[in-house]
């Protein structure tokens, strides 16, 4: 099964993103998961202030500056993983360095 790990946190946990120990651990995680054949794709996202929200209403394309939801918790990145079941996905997520300072949401992909 494929799961998306959503790397979530608020502004206070974002401070840790600059922390070298967290970033270094993150690098180790990606290497381990690639070796295990679990990690399919991953990326960090630029902050919500760089976001543009797109809607189409009728035949007009409406743009707005910023994220869709003005919440304190934001998605800072994602990892797409392939696991046997939820237990393995939880294990993989809990090894991610970000789990110690922020939160990781594990979402199964919609699959036929």
């Amino acid at each position: 099964m494929r799961y998306m790990l959503l790397i979530c946190g608020d502004e206070s946990s974002a401070e840790h993103a600059a922390d070298d120990s967290v970033m270094a651990g993150c690098g180790g995680w990606a290497e381990e998961m690639e070796r295990r054949g679990v990690l399919q794709a991953a990326a960090g996202l630029r902050p919500p202030s760089d976001a543009t929200t797109v809607r189409v209403r009728g035949d007009r394309v409406l743009l707005s500056d910023g994220p869709f939801a003005e919440t304190k918790e934001q998605i800072g990145g994602y990892c797409l993983i392939e696991c046997a079941d939820l237990d393995e996905a939880i294990e993989v997520a809990s090894k991610h360095a970000w789990a110690k300072v922020g939160m990781i949401e594990v979402r199964p992909l919609w699959e036929p």
């Binding site: 799961y3 696991c83 046997a84 079941d85 939820l86 237990d87 996905a89 594990v106 199964p108």
Partner: protein, 206 residues
């Protein structure tokens, strides 16, 4: 003196329901189908046992009826072929201890119990699901125990079963290294189950 068939069915319901549902989930991988076929088996027992006599191994009789019923229904359904393939993949191998080798515990009911009590489900959902699938309480009875309307409880159960299927919660006793943390949840639910058993009046199968 031969026991009265109705009482024998009620007794089999108390003793065998959880085992039958657990086995059927193992075979089909479909929680709703498992419950429905188990219900059908008990309904058939109420009809047959007064006429044909009570089978010596009531649990085996009921399991066989329920399993045949499930096979029939999977075959009949339009998606039957696909589901049977799925079931073949999902059903645990008959080799003893293969899946549970790591934990050293092998029992269908235990597998069901640990799946119902998976920490990715809310505690209330864990308890409700265990009462429904293992103890065979009706949705109305569980709703009463939780002091919520039946419709609310019904939604909660459906949601929990959907999550088990769609989020890939494994149907197994967890491997040894996960057992300590998982066992706490199971014990908690067992305790609540015990309380519920103590307070409710005895029920006949529905």
């Amino acid at each position: 003196m031969t026991p009265e068939p109705g009482a024998a069915v009620a007794r089999a319901f108390r003793e065998e329901w959880g085992q039958i549902v657990a086995t059927l989930i193992g075979v089909t991988g479909d929680w709703d189908l498992a419950e429905e076929c188990a219900q059908d088996a008990f309904a058939l027992a109420l009809e047959r046992w007064p006429r044909d006599g009570i089978p010596r191994r009531a649990g085996a009789w009921l399991t066989t009826v329920a399993r045949n019923r499930a096979t029939d229904r999977l075959r009949r359904e339009a998606v039957g072929a696909a589901k049977l393939r799925e079931a073949a993949v999902l059903s645990p191998p008959d080799v003893p201890g293969d899946d549970d080798a790591g934990s050293g515990v092998g029992d269908d009911r235990l597998r069901l119990m640990f799946t119902c009590c998976h920490p990715a489900l809310a505690l209330e959902a864990q308890v409700a699901l265990t009462l429904r699938t293992l103890a065979g309480l009706s949705t109305a009875e569980i709703a009463r125990a939780f002091l919520v309307p039946e419709a609310t409880m019904s939604k909660r159960l459906v949601r929990a079963k959907h999550k088990i299927r769609h989020a890939g919660i494994p149907y197994r006793v967890p491997p040894a290294h996960l057992l300590p943390e998982r066992t706490t949840a199971v014990l908690g639910v067992l305790y609540l189950l015990f309380n519920e058993r103590g307070t409710r009046p005895p029920t006949a199968p529905t």
